[in-house]
């Protein structure tokens, strides 16, 4: 059966796919979103992992949702509700002496560190503003530029120049280096430095000493620029975000079909003309936009034989090795972290005592091993949202690093042993927590890949490093959402500016589709 009533088909109802579909539908196009799963949101998902216990099974905090996208799509009207916002970040000390971040304000460190951090925060806010300007547009190509590309580059140059001499020099200096050096340059407190480093390496196959980690850090500062003093916990889990995006897309006129996995992109005369579902059904449209990651979209759904060999090599070499595992615990009661005020238990908790601790944890991943002493970002959403667990019970969600996608010996044998290491580490910070666990679940990058269809189980659909970012994202030949395959676009985290529940990739992609179709 062939159905050809659509102007555009979006592959995948992840948040960027839905954002893209919404803008396209608003432009008057007839849009279909095809989604393999039974629900919307992609990695912004909620899942019951034990009877009565629900957790955000992918992303667990809302850090940097773009406010323009949120208001354009009226996400609040479509059901997005925050259970808590402006979460503090707590850098846990095993001895009970914690460092607490509240926006630009710190407690638990010296007055000198406090003022250094406040200055650091303000400076990064300015850098985030520059990035946001650049993130909100189609990235320019570096050769064969159009006038618009040249203007984008000039605007970036202008934004950097108008930072002022000192800030400009600092941005150009630190932009390419590692967070380890930058943190050492500014701060004394080990916990503070480790917490800053965590923001540079979360989700990445990088340690604090890896180049590009400052970029990763700045990337997360977009949330600060958007006026969030800290991450937010979504009522009902991150699945609510997915549902709100889906409702917004449907309200805009897009149609969403669930349980409809795409087997391949339908090609005719070297042009993308539709999608073929795993059921065998073919649906055609003038334009196909993929929210799937670049390797899945180009390597699998289109297939290397349909691409030029040199471009195939770039797709193949695109780095997308996830190292973040998700830990989900069903707890009989609220755990107590040593020395932590219960008022802070629902905040964003970081388990990483020093930068070297994180670097050593990363060392294992380099050689295909899991960390013997992993670093974690922990949240207990049930502190703010009791609907996620039975009365009095709690759910803990943690991002655990490092768990390499390719584990020596395989995850089948390594899975339980790593989970035990993670639980023991938690126990060291929250004595007694292991006894509270009624169900535990560890999703390795392989599990995340299977659950969300992301190559390598990588949140950003591919490493966010400068050789794969900005005007290089995901790879030369596909940096402006359009791919070398006529009629096929990318709109997911693999496209500029990248992942995190932000929505800009989807919005930029929709604008590019509209622009190109107008030009044609």
């Amino acid at each position: 059966m062939t159905n050809s009533n659509y102007d555009a088909i979006v592959i995948g109802a992840g948040h960027n796919g839905l954002v893209c579909a919404s803008y396209l539908a608003k432009s008057g196009r007839k849009v279909l979103v095809v989604e393999a799963a039974a629900t919307a949101g992609g990695a912004a998902a909620s899942r019951e992992f034990a009877p009565g216990y629900t957790v955000s099974s992918g992303a667990h905090l809302l850090t940097q949702l773009n406010p323009k996208v949120a208001s354009d799509l009226a996400l609040q009207r479509h059901g997005l509700k925050l259970a808590a916002s402006d979460l503090k970040t707590v850098a846990l000390g095993q001895d009970g002496k914690h460092v607490i971040f509240n926006g630009a304000n710190l407690s638990g460190v010296s007055a000198q560190d406090q003022s250094a951090y406040a200055a650091f925060y303000q400076q990064n806010l300015k850098f985030a503003k520059v990035l946001n300007g650049f993130f909100s547009k189609r990235p320019p190509t570096l050769v064969d530029r159009s006038l618009g590309d040249t203007l984008s580059l000039l605007k970036l140059g202008w934004d950097v120049r108008t930072l002022g001499k000192q800030d400009m020099q600092d941005l150009l200096r630190v932009g390419l280096i590692n967070i380890y050096d930058v943190a050492n340059e500014h701060f004394d407190s080990e916990l503070l430095k480790a917490a800053v480093s965590m923001d540079g390496v979360l989700g990445s196959h990088m340690g604090p000493r890896s180049p590009n980690t400052v970029y990763g850090y700045l990337y997360r500062r977009l949330g600060d620029f958007y006026g969030m003093k800290g991450p937010a916990v979504v009522a009902g889990g991150m699945g609510t975000v997915g549902a709100a995006f889906a409702a917004a897309a449907e309200a805009a006129g897009a149609e969403i079909r669930y349980n409809s996995a795409v087997a391949r992109v339908d090609m005719d005369d070297c042009r993308a003309v539709g999608v073929v579902l795993e059921s065998g059904e073919t649906i055609s449209a003038r334009t196909i936009i993929s929210n799937a990651d670049p390797k899945t979209t180009l390597g699998k759904l289109v297939g290397y034989p349909q691409l030029d060999a040199g471009f195939s090599r770039r797709v193949h070499n695109f780095r997308a090795r996830g190292v973040s595992a998700k830990l989900h615990l069903a707890l009989d009661e609220l755990p107590r972290f040593t020395g932590l005020d219960t008022a802070n238990t629902g905040d964003r908790l970081l388990l990483a005592p020093t930068m070297d601790y994180i670097e050593l944890a990363f060392n294992h991943a380099k050689y295909g091993e899991y960390s013997q002493a992993p670093a974690m970002e922990i949240n207990i959403p049930t502190v703010h949202d009791s609907s996620l667990a039975p009365p009095g019970k709690h759910v803990l969600s943690a991002i655990v690093q490092y768990a390499p996608y390719e584990l020596k010996g395989g995850w089948d044998s390594g899975h339980e042993a790593f989970k035990e290491i993670v639980l023991d580490k938690l126990e060291a910070y929250a004595p007694g927590i292991k006894n509270l666990v009624s169900t535990s679940e560890l999703s390795t990058p392989r599990d995340l890949e299977a659950e969300f269809g992301m190559t390598g189980g990588h949140w950003h659909h591919g490493e966010l490093s400068l050789d794969q970012a900005l005007m290089m994202r995901p790879m030369p030949g596909a940096t402006q959402y359009a791919t070398p395959v006529d009629g096929l676009y990318l709109c997911g985290a693999g496209a500029h500016p990248g992942g995190g529940v932000m929505g800009l990739a989807g919005r930029n992609a929709a604008r590019e589709v509209i622009r190109q179709e107008k030009a044609a």
Binding site: G299, Y304, P305, D308, A309, G310, F311, S312, R313, P484
Partner: protein, 395 residues
């Protein structure tokens, strides 16, 4: 005593003992890692052997890849610009392959040895590109350069010589056909192909039979004025035939350093090799765009006035502006023409353009500058009827 460094480094073809014995000029060169002769005795004699009797050229250093597996046809079709599906088993096809930008990596021949088994025969090594092209295909690629020895046997009496050697029935092999004969206890593969623009064959055999093949060939060719030829004489016949050569007439795209110096098939006069109807192949999109927007260069064969080869000459228009340059040139004795292959900037090289080759030559330290008028040649320069005749004439 330790062998000199260069003798350790260079490879010898399996014919080397015979080649060395006949190479009176002791004029050796390096070709793809092999020691090969520029000439054997006299370039003119070698040239005239290829044109009037039989010239033999050791082409073992040509890079040979064997490509097989369930997806080999689809793989080849995505690799090269021609429609490989039309190349039947037992046939050879000339083609080019391009990078993503539609720039030529190399030109060469595809031998469809048997159903789904291909040999790609090329000037440049390109395993990296072949491997990178293999993603998504179930194919096996083997470099068999060293495993297959090759001899080109070219010229009017080539068929007669080979028949005398025992290859009876060879006269019925069509141009670009492949056939096999038993040879000693091995197998001799013969293709009616060559780089001379004349009747000729290429013989392919396992290295252990190479010397015996050479001996049998020269024994059979005694009465047919057989003569080995070096790369200098081959260079002359190929220019006369109008064939291009990597590094002379184009820079292989994969090895180009300076942006924009490579050439597309259209810019090498090989647009006829590009088939847009066959489905996707590497460079297709770029070549389609070039077809729509126009090429940067035009490749032409020029008949240059006089008899001074226009090697490395600039080509000027009537106003004296440089509009291109010569890539290969030679005075061609059989065509009796002063031939130049040239790359001209568009739109120059249209039929009625008046063009001049700026030629410098010296006679006993006396330099002369010529502005020789050139005429663009559209047809072949040298194409004897026997090249295409089947059965091949038996001189």
């Amino acid at each position: 005593m330790k062998k000199p460094h260069d003798e350790d480094m260079l490879k010898y073809t399996p014919f080397h003992s015979r080649v060395k014995a006949m190479c009176q000029t002791n004029d050796w060169t390096l070709w793809a890692g092999y020691t090969t002769p520029n000439s054997y005795e006299n370039i003119e004699l070698e040239y005239f052997a290829a044109r009037n009797s039989t010239g033999v050229f050791d082409l073992t250093p040509m890079t040979k890849y064997r490509i097989s597996g369930p997806d080999s046809e689809a793989y080849m079709n995505r690799l090269v610009t021609r429609d490989v599906r039309k190349l039947k088993p037992g046939r050879v096809g000339y083609t080019v392959w391009c990078n993503d930008a539609g720039m030529v990596h190399d030109d060469g021949t595809i031998f469809h040895l048997s159903e789904g088994v291909y040999r790609l025969c090329a000037q440049e090594r390109c395993m990296d590109w072949l491997q990178c092209s293999a993603m998504g295909f179930d194919v096996e690629i083997i470099d068999e350069t060293e495993a297959v020895a090759g001899l080109a046997v070219q010229g009017p009496t080539s068929c007669a010589t080979l028949r005398k050697m025992g290859l009876e029935g060879l006269q019925n092999l069509k141009p670009f056909g492949i056939t096999t004969f038993p040879f000693n206890d091995g197998e001799l593969t013969v293709s009616r192909t060559g780089y001379t623009g004349d009747l000729g064959y290429e013989l392919w055999i396992a290295p252990q039979h190479a010397e015996a093949l050479w001996d049998a060939l020269f024994e059979a060719g005694k009465d047919y004025m057989i003569r080995p030829m070096g790369s200098e004489a081959l260079g002359l016949v190929r220019i006369e035939a109008g064939f291009i050569m990597a590094w002379e007439d184009f820079v292989p795209a994969e090895q180009m350093v300076r942006h924009g110096r490579a050439r597309s098939p259209f810019e090498l006069g090989l647009g006829w090799l590009v088939d847009f109807k066959k489905g996707h192949f590497t460079g297709r999109k770029a070549l389609l765009q070039e077809q729509q927007n126009g090429s940067r260069y035009r490749f032409v064969k020029l008949d240059v006035d006089g008899n001074k080869p226009a090697e490395h000459s600039f080509i000027l228009n009537k106003a004296g502006d440089v509009v291109g340059h010569v890539t290969s040139a030679a005075w061609c004795p059989t065509a009796k023409s002063n031939i130049a292959l040239a790359s001209l900037e568009m739109p120059w090289g249209a039929d009625d353009d008046e063009l001049f080759a700026e030629i410098y030559y010296t006679r006993e330290l006396h330099w002369t500058r010529l502005l020789s008028p050139c005429k663009v040649l559209n047809g072949p320069i040298y194409e004897p009827e026997r090249r295409r005749m089947t059965p091949a004439p038996n001189y």
